[in-house]
């Protein structure tokens, strides 16, 4: 590889040709600050508009300062990253940015976790001159079912736009207007609700400021907890336990399952259950559906459409309802684990407790913002009583725990409650890309072949590549599996399905890059994709530690079918655990 040598802050460094100054500096331990640049290297995501101009440095012989995020190293370059000129420029530009930013840090939802705030601190900004007459660019606030947009706080880093367009290909957000009033917004600056937004929350996950945050459902949960007439049940998604610890100072990848359960109990939840249980249930239903379609397909039944697509990710469901309504009979009809849990909790478990579903409140802790919208879908309620009442994100849970004076670190590990708290390792790995399909394969293989799996770990289905494929031998029957995470990658596979080119029997799709561990409701990764890798590793670790690794081995699942549901995909199961999809593409109506 061709390399170049250059000097940064009097230190020599040799880097491959094409390396940016910023990356070269990092090798020397020089951390050049930036606000807009973001590199999620392992996920192949880069945001490099060169817009914040915080990362500038002096390059000898150059007329103006160079943005180090996008200036390539050249042989013999001499770079200084902290001369008086650079520091003055960086501070002045920061003052510019702050001069058009609300000063309500104390009450901002991003306070303490805001990259702009940290930058102001780091650069030692002590005053913002000219505030008396400085105009601010102000916009209407927008509250959608999942996401709050407060564009007054937008600094035009364009990360959300990159996520929404380049990565997710959702195209709900675009830079709009120009100059001082430029911002990132949906078409016609309407509410997100009326856009093509899937609520995947990736925009929120990367927003450096308080411009994009989630709708806070903690107050509603709190009200339910103190209501003596309500039995409050909580379910926690698999990806939450692998990330919650980060909010309390644990290293990324630390599993805090037991402490999380203890904290939830301490918060007053009557029953602390595991969404993993519902994940196991999902596998039974989805796996049965897959095998059914597969068998029919093999017999030549043209109505059995393949590939089957997973349907446990609500962002993904929103996406295909918007962009692929013509394929809405292709995905599995199985509800997501969150909704399966709610449906079972408010029927089966309410029966066990002998209470009316109206007196039960189901709360879910999710790594996801689309779940907030999903639980509000009208088809997931009975007589206006939703199966899942509130969905709060990992971040909200962390804040809730802190507000309740609970020191997570000192809590003793506790166990989930029965019966909806028991799960297999297959349910755990739902939280990472490839996990759902691996879980499904574990079950489908054994059900289809009648043989016991010798090897439970399908490592060929794991990894962070955007689109992956593998062929699993079902005792002589090769099953082609496709995996996509990130909606842009999903679109590629879906385009093939639409055109009939797809060779897959089953496809797993997760809306968020990395799967749920990289969800829009997770603790912020601040552009460090290592964190996402660590979380995935943690889930696979928990899977390995579980005594049961396959969903159909979960004794409580078996019991559920025996006592309540009957057969997988049976009539009752169909009624409670399956759903249907809608065509949500915008229609152009002809005026008569």
């Amino acid at each position: 590889m061709e390399t170049v040598k250059l000097i940064i802050d009097n230190k020599e460094v040799e880097v491959p040709k094409g390396t940016t100054i910023q990356k070269a500096a990092k090798l020397l331990g020089i951390d050049i600050p930036t606000l807009c640049y973001m590199d999620l290297h392992d996920l192949n995501i880069e945001n490099k508009p060169g817009g914040c101009r915080i990362c500038v440095a002096e390059v000898k012989g150059r007329r103006n300062l160079a943005p180090t995020c996008s200036t390539r190293c050249e042989e013999g370059m001499v770079v200084s990253t902290h001369t008086v000129r650079v520091l003055n420029a960086r501070r002045t530009v920061m003052e510019f940015i702050l001069s058009d930013h609300p000063k309500d840090c104390l009450v901002c939802p991003k306070s303490g976790n805001c990259e702009l705030q940290s930058m102001a601190h780091r650069l030692g900004i002590r005053e913002i001159p000219g505030q008396e007459y400085a105009a601010m660019s102000t916009y209407r606030k927008d509250f959608s079912p999942s996401i709050i947009r407060d564009l007054d706080k937008c600094i035009m880093c364009r990360r959300c736009e990159t996520m929404c367009n380049t990565v997710q290909t959702v195209g709900a957000l675009s830079a709009v207007n120009r100059g001082f009033m430029a911002a990132v917004a949906p078409a016609f600056e309407q509410n997100l609700e009326f856009s093509t937004c899937t609520y995947c929350g990736q925009c929120v996950a990367v927003c450096p400021t308080g411009a994009l945050t989630e709708i806070n459902h903690v107050p509603s949960v709190l009200r339910a907890l103190v209501d003596p007439t309500k039995t409050v049940v909580v379910q926690t998604a698999p990806a939450v336990r692998a990330a919650l610890g980060e909010e309390f100072g644990y290293e990324p990848g630390t599993l805090v399952t037991g402490k999380m359960v203890a904290a939830l109990r301490a918060l007053g939840f009557k029953y602390v259950f595991d969404t993993d249980f519902a994940a196991d249930l999902t596998i039974i239903e989805e796996g049965t559906e897959l095998l059914d379609r597969l068998t029919r397909h093999l017999k030549g039944d043209k109505t059995a459409r393949l590939p089957i697509l997973t349907s446990c990710c609500p962002g993904w469901v929103n996406f295909f309802e918007e962009y692929f309504p013509d394929l809405k009979d292709v995905p599995s009809t199985s509800k997501s684990p969150q909704q399966m849990f709610g449906a079972i909790a408010k029927t089966y478990f309410a029966d066990i407790l002998g209470i009316n579903r109206k007196d039960m409140v189901v709360v879910s802790i999710m790594p996801c913002l689309a779940k907030k919208y999903e639980c509000q879908r009208p088809e997931f309620s009975v007589d206006n009583n939703p199966d899942v009442d509130f969905s709060i994100s990992t971040r909200e849970l962390a804040a809730f725990i802190k507000q309740a004076n609970i020191d997570l670190k000192t809590l003793k590990d506790e166990e989930f409650d029965a019966p909806l708290g028991e799960s297999s390792g297959a349910g755990v790995i739902f939280g990472t890309t490839g996990g759902v399909i691996e879980a499904a394969v574990r079950t489908a293989y054994e059900v289809h072949t009648g043989k016991k799996l010798e090897r439970v770990d399908f490592t060929e289905l794991r990894g962070l590549e955007g689109v992956r494929s593998a062929t699993i031998d079902f005792n002589g029957l090769p099953i082609n599996i496709g995996i996509a995470h990130g909606l842009g990658n999903a679109r590629k596979l879906l385009d093939d399905v639409r055109s009939g080119k797809s060779q897959f029997h089953a496809i797993e799709v997760m809306a968020c890059p990395g799967g749920c561990i990289g969800g829009g409701g997770q603790p912020l990764h601040h552009g460090n994709s290592e964190i996402i890798k660590e979380r995935a590793a943690a889930l696979y670790r928990e899977d390995r530690q579980k005594p049961l690794r396959k969903s159909h081995d979960n004794p409580f699942i078996k019991k559920l079918y025996e006592e309540f549901l009957g057969k997988p995909n049976g009539e009752k199961a169909h009624h409670l655990l399956h759903t249907h999809y809608f065509d949500k593409k915008k229609k152009i109506m002809i005026k008569q």
Binding site: G171, A187, S195
Partner: protein
């Protein structure tokens, strides 16, 4: 979710489709499509942008992003007699701002607004290239040169 239904007349939808077709539904031709549609409709209402988005397969947010980027595109209809005051440098140094003020006063409008009867709309633009005639005012297609604030009332009278 984008579940709003938009309504347009069939001939309008057909017109837009025709325009997009004539540019081979190439997303790169978005600006040319917008030009043609604005020429036809006089402005680019949201509905028109939706149909363009649909035909060119460009997210409507991006279409809107483009429309709001370029000052030539507008989402509000112009008045029957659109009045544009050139604020190019040559006109500026010869007092165009005072002329603009006079129009604002006479019409009770701000730049970008239309009179309630839809008769006049007021806009400023940068250099129509008739610098020799500065300050220049355009009403529709007609150009008025060397306009002084005192002339404003007379110009408006022509259109009453």
């Amino acid at each position: 979710m984008s579940s709003i239904k938009i309504e347009l007349r069939k001939e309008d939808v057909d017109f837009i489709k025709g325009v997009c077709d004539s540019f081979k539904n190439d997303p790169q031709e978005l600006i040319n499509v917008l030009h043609t549609c604005q020429e036809h409709f006089g402005y680019l209402p949201a509905e028109v942008q939706e149909v363009i988005s649909d035909n060119l397969n460009v997210p409507v947010a991006k279409v809107y992003g483009v429309v709001t980027f370029y000052s030539f595109f507008t989402m509000t209809p112009k008045g029957q007699h659109p009045i544009s005051i050139c604020l190019g440098t040559a006109c500026y140094v010869r007092g165009a701002e005072k002329v603009l003020e006079e129009f604002k006063k006479e019409l009770g409008l701000q730049v970008g607004q239309v009179t309630t009867d839809g008769k006049f709309s007021l806009s400023s633009l940068r250099c129509v290239g008739a610098c020799g005639l500065a300050p220049v005012v355009m009403v529709g297609e007609k150009t008025y040169g060397r306009v002084a604030p005192d002339d404003v009332r007379n110009i408006l009278k022509e259109y009453e």
